[in-house]
């Protein structure tokens, strides 16, 4: 498989995971105090 494709998939996946972590943090965040 074309290595640029692999690199592109890895970068895209990492961005998706960062988005997922942000969504997770929003979902589980409780009101402070």
């Amino acid at each position: 498989m074309h290595h640029l494709v692999v690199k592109g998939v890895a970068v895209g996946l990492t961005i998706l995971l960062i988005v997922a972590i942000v969504v997770f943090a929003i979902l589980v965040k409780a009101p402070v105090g």
């Binding site: 498989m1 074309h2 290595h3 640029l4 494709v5 692999v6 690199k7 998939v9 890895a10 996946l13 990492t14 998706l16 995971l17 997922a20 972590i21 942000v22 997770f24 943090a25 929003i26 979902l27 589980v28 965040k29 409780a30 402070v32």
Partner: protein, 444 residues
């Protein structure tokens, strides 16, 4: 099922497994006691990083069903890239917590008075992971032997996983719920099963499937061809262009397996010999391979790989090889001759000088038996050289490609600079991506 569908399914499973701990934590969080958004970001980064680490074992587990969809060198590269991503997430994990006020001294210094099991396992896992990734990136520059690196890589990775698992269960932020425990238990079972299979079960199964060295001959370009004979078993046939993992030593266990392309015809009868050609790059290839004598025993794990004309039928082929990357291409050409395949093949063969071209005479012989045109491209040509000089470039290729070249199938194998160049040149020539197949022989 097409390879694209199979690839999409495997990737979907991979993505699902990475997000599973995060999703489970979000759904099953027993009490919303999060002190801050930043802390939860840190926790999420930790879960994703650890899940990525667990799946790193699966990416290089030589699972044929997955490898067939992507190619093992692509999986290896993906393993390397996602390992670095995992490191990034696992560094972000404590950084975000420190920003939120967690005491860095306790979490970074295992010897600090405030340190406990949870902090020590966390800091040690992180430090070992940094070393693990650093050694992988700079192994060659540091001069570390491949075999030694292979051992430390596996042991360090296992240590990181165990320490990280202990850490998350002691902290217990989300791991107190049965479903979350079940998820991480599943990951632990997955990694353990993969390790047991590849390090224990497979060597036991291969114990009696030995191969005997029949011949060890020197080739042009500081290379050696090992001709191996299966002993007491049928051996294997393979798709020309594939490779096997070779193991020397007294037992099939353990250390130092090397991915080497077969250099003989793929159409092997039961019990027939198989040849491998290996370039002397120092350590194993220069010492142990050189010392092998007829009668010595080896173990093979193969065949592996998707770099084969048998999987990609075309009206004709263009092969681009550099250095020892000629080996899988040579195997394909021999197989075509045996099959009396009349389709045209153009071979661009790059090398430093005329004398170092491995299989130079053998390829000339094949050209007399099939529709093969060889274009040698020398970076250090002799003064009387009238052929192509420099490197295989788009300009060089344009001078030889037939009018229908966009319908040909391209196979490229060689050192990194050649591979990088071809990944730019071939799209510029208008070759459809699905017609281009590459394999990097220094994938590990």
């Amino acid at each position: 099922m097409t390879m694209i569908v199979r690839g999409a399914l495997w990737f979907g499973l991979y993505f699902f497994l990475i997000l599973l701990p995060l999703a489970t934590a979000a759904i099953s969080s027993p009490a919303r006691v999060a002190p801050s958004f930043i802390v939860e970001l840190g926790v999420g980064a930790g879960f994703v990083g650890l899940a990525l680490m667990c799946l790193e074992f699966a990416l290089i587990s030589r699972t044929k069903a997955a490898a067939q969809a992507f190619g093992e060198d692509a999986l290896q590269l993906f393993h390397n890239l996602m390992g670095m991503a995992a490191l990034g997430f696992l560094i972000a994990h404590p950084v975000l917590l420190f920003i939120s006020g967690y005491p860095a001294q306790c979490w970074l210094n295992p010897l600090a008075g405030c340190a406990n099991v949870a902090t020590r396992t966390a800091s040690l896992a992180l430090y070992v992971l940094v070393v693990l990734v650093g050694l992988s990136i700079w192994r060659k520059k540091l001069g570390i032997k491949y075999e030694l690196w292979q051992v430390t890589h596996g042991l360090f990775a296992l240590f990181v996983l165990i320490a990280a698992m202990v850490h998350i269960f002691i902290v217990g932020r989300y791991t107190t719920t049965p479903i979350m425990k079940a998820v991480w238990l599943m990951y632990a079972i997955l990694v353990t099963a993969l390790l047991l299979y590849y390090k224990i079960l497979l060597p036991i199964l291969n114990w009696n499937k030995t191969w005997e060295v029949v011949e060890n001959r020197l080739e042009r370009g500081d290379s050696r061809t090992l001709v191996l004979q299966p002993v007491g078993h049928k051996g294997f046939s393979f798709q020309p262009g594939q490779f096997s993992w070779l193991k020397t030593g007294r037992t099939p266990f353990g250390l130092g397996q090397h991915p080497i392309s077969m250099s003989s015809s793929g159409d092997v009868e039961s019990g027939d010999q198989v040849a491998f050609t290996i370039k002397d790059l120092g350590d194993w290839s220069g010492q142990e391979v050189t010392a092998l004598e007829p009668g010595d025993t080896m173990w093979l794990d193969g065949p592996h790989g998707v770099f084969s004309m048998d999987r990609e039928q075309g009206m004709g082929y263009v092969f681009v090889g550099g250095g020892i990357g000629i080996t899988p291409l040579y195997s394909m050409l021999q197989t075509m001759v045996e099959r009396e395949d009349v389709r045209p093949v153009l071979l661009f063969y790059g090398g430093s000088n005329w004398e170092s071209l491995t299989f130079r005479e053998e390829l000339d012989d094949l050209a007399g038996q099939m529709n093969l045109q060889i274009i040698h491209v020398l970076s250090q040509p002799p003064t009387s050289w009238e052929g192509e000089s420099g490197y295989v470039t788009g300009e060089v290729m344009k001078g030889y490609l037939p009018k229908q070249y966009k319908r040909f199938v391209y196979f490229v194998c060689g050192p990194e600079p050649l591979m990088d160049a071809m990944e730019k040149v071939l799209p510029e020539l208008g070759i459809p991506a699905q017609n281009v197949h590459t394999e990097r022989f220094d994938m590990v």
